[in-house]
Symmetry: C2
DNA sequence: GCATATTTTGCAACCGGTTGCAAAGAAGTG
DNA sequence: CACTTCTTTGCAACCGGTTGCAAAATATGC
């Protein structure tokens, strides 16, 4: 068993409170006492039990990191940034993988059992209600990559997906494409819905456009490939706006297999600007999503909320930009 | 603040122990009592505080999941499998991102402060000493993707990297390559060392082989690309065994940029068989690493150790196999 | 040197649970 | 119905810390 505060106190010949105080900063301890205690602690190899102290302080420094995007490589970067950022602030990420089978209710309950100080929901496919469930349970929550409305129920950090849709539409129009399609992620995802909405709005005002749409089952290579193979059997469009880069790459793979060429026969524009999009064997034209800023901002918001739990919910939206690469034909 | 056991006890008109017992299975409670307590708990929305109970039971069900591979997409799958597998067994992964700056000592201390029941080190680049530090601190530990020796100090689950090196060598020999090179990951990684060792051993016995080697700074696309661009300035080899798929893909990208073709001018064989390796625009010949089995087995071992902490350290090695795709020329 | 102000220290209660033990209650036996 | 045995329940101590409060120690002023 590990060394406890009591043993250190005994060895140093002081009270338990004295030991506790030397290990909590801001407490009143004399230099002499501090040295005595630290020596004893070092001799014994003592380190305080964070969980025990959380009982009285009410703070665990545990942050639930909830996601369901374990098939989209950009989320590796997201996890990297979140874990690093949280660690740097002395917070500990408790990772929750919300796959299809797992009951969301159960996750809420579990994270409460572990008294997490806060929860970050990192997902563009989870319903806003999910994040809200934490808020209702009295847990500070930030929804990263979520849909930001004008009156958010919880803190939301992300991009304006509607505007991204418009952006994609304008880009395709500028290249002179007429027969245009949207290939989205899961239809239930708010990100898919919003991207399509903006895309549709912008194209609706343009003349002579033939617009179609379909959805992949999830944001993954396989789902994109599968859906594109299906589309290729029929009469494919001239250009596709894919709801996400990893989807786009699946689409590219399907097109390549069919013998058609990109961008000569079919144009593709993605969204995210994941690392692989710039790999020369992929070279995907896409819309850049500022992941780093979104994560940094989410963490800031989380930290702020720990001090001020009743902070008024806020939506933070970061701008996106087109990254021109090789999967769209030049403007006519 | 959350509802506590005391409040439930009061509401149900019973003792605190009674409430505690209804929530710990295996305890002696009458049906009548159970119903009474459960009703009160439901009315109040009570759920037990896992951390408080860990204080007496000595079990937190927290498992440290330590890794430093946040740039290699296969680790997204690794995290997916680990988090799911642990969750299914009622365990909670506390994720630790061991980037270059972070002090390994500090992680050990931190995980002890949170009284994790065990630690999984998931990395092929961390020194075996790191895992050992946990064992020395009295924490059950499994090193996944680590180097398994004949007398492991801690539980290790992974592949035989030396044998993989040999396998790669045999494959390249069979294809008639003579001018052969190894492009490894970080030189300090045991996986790199072992893969090179086997590769070298096998080629040393073959006649007329010209063997060279170099190392990328980490297992990442950029590092592979950078190293290959350097090699291309000189006189590149006929075929490369790359220490990892993501490295290989970086290498492919560099080759493509240089105007050379794969497999006509240069052959590439990777290791891991990551999802992207089979993407048609990559189509990488590689050695399959059975990630799923490694993770499953690691979790099994972890669970076993929770019951039996002094279990004798064991090495579990899973076989790898060649996956033929399009980056090696056919046998002559 | 003494009275007073300030800092440091220890006591004891508490955080939210668990558990050994003994008393109370229920069930079984003759 | 009394007696034994088994089950259920509550008491109280404990897990490893924190913290308000008052006593003890030290510093300050005159």
């Amino acid at each position: 068993m590990a060394i406890t505060l009591k043993e250190v106190a005994k060895r140093a010949g002081v009270s338990r409170s004295a030991v506790s105080r030397t290990f909590t900063d801001g407490a009143s301890v004399s230099e002499k006492m501090r040295r005595k205690v630290e020596k004893a602690a070092r001799d014994l190899g003592y380190s305080p039990n964070a969980l025990a102290s959380s009982l009285t302080t009410g703070r665990t420094k545990l942050i639930g990191l909830v996601s369901n995007n374990f098939h989209n490589p950009i989320f590796l970067q997201v996890f990297d940034l979140f874990t690093r950022g949280l660690q740097d602030r002395g917070l500990r990420p408790l990772l929750v993988n919300l796959s299809d089978e797992t009951d969301p209710e159960a996750s809420v309950r579990m994270l409460r059992q572990y008294s997490v100080d806060g929860v970050v929901v990192a997902s563009s496919t989870l319903s806003p209600d999910f994040a809200k469930a934490f808020r209702d349970a009295g847990v500070p929550v930030v929804h990263s990559f979520g849909r930001s409305t004008s009156a958010p129920q919880v803190h939301v950090v992300g991009i304006d997906n509607v505007e991204c849709g418009r952006m994609a539409a304008r880009t395709l129009l500028a290249r002179g494409y007429k027969d245009i399609a949207f290939l989205g992620g899961p239809e239930s995802a708010t990100s898919t819905q919003d991207r399509y909405k903006g895309f549709f709005q912008e194209l609706a005002t343009a003349p002579d456009i033939n617009l179609s749409h379909s959805f992949a089952e999830q944001y993954s290579f396989d789902a994109g490939r599968k859906e594109m193979l299906r589309l290729l059997r029929d009469h494919p469009a001239e250009a596709y706006f894919c709801g996400d880069d990893v989807l786009s790459i699946g689409v590219l793979s399907a097109i390549k297999d069919s013998g058609l060429r990109v961008p000569e026969d079919i144009g593709i524009i993605g969204l995210n600007d994941m690392e692989m999009a710039r790999w020369q064997n992929i070279d995907l034209t896409t819309i850049h999503q500022p992941i780093r800023q979104i994560v940094t901002s989410s963490i800031e918001l989380m930290v702020a909320m720990l001090d001020e739990p009743d902070r008024y919910p806020e939506g933070r939206v970061f701008p996106c930009s087109i990254v021109e690469r090789g999967t769209l034909r030049p403007a006519p």
